[in-house]
Subunit: 385 residues, 2 copies
Amino acid sequence: MAVTLADVAARAGVSAATVSRVLNGNYPVARTTRSRVMRAVEELEYVVNGPASSLAAARSDLIGVLVNDIADPFFGIMASAIQNEISPVTGAGGGEGTAGQKLAVVCNTGGVPERELTYLTLLQRQRAAAVVLTGGAIESPAHSAALAVRLRRLERAGARVVLCGRPPLPAPETEGAAQGAGSGPDRSRGADAEAGQPIAVTFDNRGGARTLTEHLLSLGHRRMGYLAGPADRTTTRHRLEGHRAALAEAGAGAGSEDAARLILHGGYDRASGYDGALELLRRDPEVTAILAANDTAALGVCAALRDQGLRIPEDVSVTGFDDLPFAADAAPALTTVRIPLHDAGARAGRLALGLESPPAGGIATIRSELMVRASTAPPPGRSRG
Amino acid sequence: MAVTLADVAARAGVSAATVSRVLNGNYPVARTTRSRVMRAVEELEYVVNGPASSLAAARSDLIGVLVNDIADPFFGIMASAIQNEISPVTGAGGGEGTAGQKLAVVCNTGGVPERELTYLTLLQRQRAAAVVLTGGAIESPAHSAALAVRLRRLERAGARVVLCGRPPLPAPETEGAAQGAGSGPDRSRGADAEAGQPIAVTFDNRGGARTLTEHLLSLGHRRMGYLAGPADRTTTRHRLEGHRAALAEAGAGAGSEDAARLILHGGYDRASGYDGALELLRRDPEVTAILAANDTAALGVCAALRDQGLRIPEDVSVTGFDDLPFAADAAPALTTVRIPLHDAGARAGRLALGLESPPAGGIATIRSELMVRASTAPPPGRSRG
DNA sequence: CTGTTAGCGCATTCAT
DNA sequence: ATGAATGCGCTAACAG
C-alpha cells in the first residue's frame, strides 16, 4: 500500500536497519550512506509509519494536553505555550527535521468529567509520552478516584504526568489493587520506580483573590458581591477561600453575615457574569463592588450594570481574574489579577518533556499579581457612615 | 511490560482473537464469552495498545485539527465544535465505551508555514484517519505547493482532508511527479480513486466585508480606514476584495483614490488594531470610520481612539469581523459580521468523519450575517458637503 | 560502520 | 462462534 522502510532500503542498496538509523539519527552512519538513504527517502516520498515505529520502540511521540474549554483563551494561552515548548518551530523545511519530533495534541474535555477520563484512556492507549492536565480540576470524590486510577496507570506505563493550574490529587484513602493474578505472568516493574511524586505547576488562586478583596476593602468597599465559578472546581474553591480570608481578616463587622448571601456560584462564562450581577443587585441593591469569577464573567457583569444604568466604577466597582489580553482593553479597563499563563504553560511543557526538573516536592507555584485599572474606585458617597 | 491481549485471553480462557473481536465489537461473539472477556479486561485493567492496533489494522483513530492560533477564540470555537462532533460525550463511564472512539487532536501551527507542514507530516506518520485545516491559508506559492504535496499524500494514504474556513488549494500548474523508479515496486493504487475532489467549508468573507462596507457607506461614511490582516492570507484577501467591491460600486467619487492610502496590513491581534488606528489617524485625521481586520483588532482600534480622545461612534465608527462572543459586550457593542464558526466547525467535523456527504462540488459556503450594533453611526456633521 | 535476526501487540485470514 | 497461524512495518540487540 504505502512505501515502507524496506522499499527505501532496497532503493538505497542498504539494509532496513541502516535506514532506520539514518532516520532516527541516534546511531553513527557513514556520511555517504546517509545521503544515499536520504535521497531514496525523498525520491520515494517515504513517511515513517508511526504506529509500527511506536510498537517496535514501545513508546510514542505523542504528548496530550487536556483543557477544559478550548474556546476560552485562558486555556488557549496555556495550550499555546505548552505546544510551543514541545514543538518549537524548526528551521527546516518541515519534511525531514521531523525525526524525534514530539506531537503535542490538545484535547478538549469541555469540563465534562467523563470526557477527561475518556481522553486519558485514549492517550494511554496511544502510549503517550506525557500528559499535561490544565486548569481547575473537578472535585467530586468519584471523579477524583477515577482520575487517580487513570493517572496512576499512565505513570506506570512510563508517561510523565504534569498538572498545570490545578493542585495534585488528594491521596486516596484505601488502595484495593485489583491484581489477584492466578496464572498471570510475573512482569517486572519498569525502570523509574519513583512515580509517587506528582509534578504540578499551580497558580496562587487563593492569594490572588485575597489581594483583590483587600484592594476593594482598602478602597472602602464593605458590600461586595462575589461571583464564584462552578462549585466543584478547585480553582473556584481556592479563589473563594482567598476572598473569605481577606474578609475575615478585615473583621466580622465588614459584613460577614451578608457575605454568604452575596456569594453566587455560576460558570466562567460571560452569561454567568451577566445573570449573576443582576441577581446580586436584586439581593442587595446597595452592593458597591462585584468580584467576578474571571475576566470573561467580569465582562458580563459590566454589561449587566450598564444595562441597569449603573456606572463603573462610580456606582459599582468590578474586578476580573486572570488578566486575559482583553481585560486591559475593556471599557473601563478591568482591575484583575494577572496569572502568567504563558509562563506556566511553558514550564509545564518543559516538565512534560523532562527538559526541566521539577522543584523539590514537585510543585511549583506561580505567583499572581494584582493589576489595578479603571474598573475599581472608592464606593459612592454612602448615605450613612 | 504492560498487560497485553494475550494476558486477557489467558485469564478469560479464550484465544486472543476472541478478545480482539469482543473489544472491537465488529464480530459476533457469544454473550457469555463476551462478559467473561470484559471481566478479565477490567480485572487486568487492560488498555489496548494503540500503535499495535493501528499497525495491524493499517489505520488509526487519530484525527488532526490544525489551527493558526489556538489562543484566539476564532479558532477555539471552531476546534471545539469539530471536536464535539468527533468525540461526543459518551454516557459511559469513559473506560469501556472507548472502542472505535476517534481521538481528535488539535495542533497549533501559530500561522507558521513550516509548522503547518511539520504537523501534516507528523499526522501522516501517525496514519491519521482525517485532517481538518482551519482558518485562512498562507498564499505563498511555495507554501501552497508544499502543502498540496502533503495533502495529496495524506489523501493517497486514505485520510480524509477537510478545509474549514479556507478555500481549496489552487490547482498546481505542472505536476513533476518524482517517480523515476528504476527497480521500484509497482504499488497498486488504493481503493478510493476519487481523491481529486477537495472537501471544504468556506466562509463568505468577501460578501461579509462587502456588506459591512455598504452599511458604512449607507450611513454616509466616505473616508474609511481599512485594517487588513496579514497580507498573505486568503481570509485577508477575500475580505479586502469585498471591501473594494463595495467601494467601487459606490462610485469612484466615494474616495477611491484615498482608499489605497487608507488600507493597512497588519495582524489579527489587538496590538495591530491599536497601532493601525493610530497610523490611520495620522494619514487622515478626518477618517470617520475604521474597519478592523476582526473583532480582536477592533478592540485595539477602540482603545486607540479612546486614547486619542475620540468618541465611538460619534466621532469615528468602528467595525469588527467574526462576531466573537465578546463583540456584543464591548463598549460600545461592536457592529460586525457574524460567521457561524460553531456550525462551520460541526459540519467540518462531520465531513471529516464521513458522517455527512459533501455538497456537489465539495465546497459548502457558510453564510455570514451583518450585526449592526452601537459602534457605527453616521459620520459627524461634516465641515462641508 | 553495517547487515541479520527477532520480536513488539494486535487484526485478520482460514479453518473448525 | 471460536481458535490457530500469519504478518503489519519497524527497532533493537547481536554479530560481523
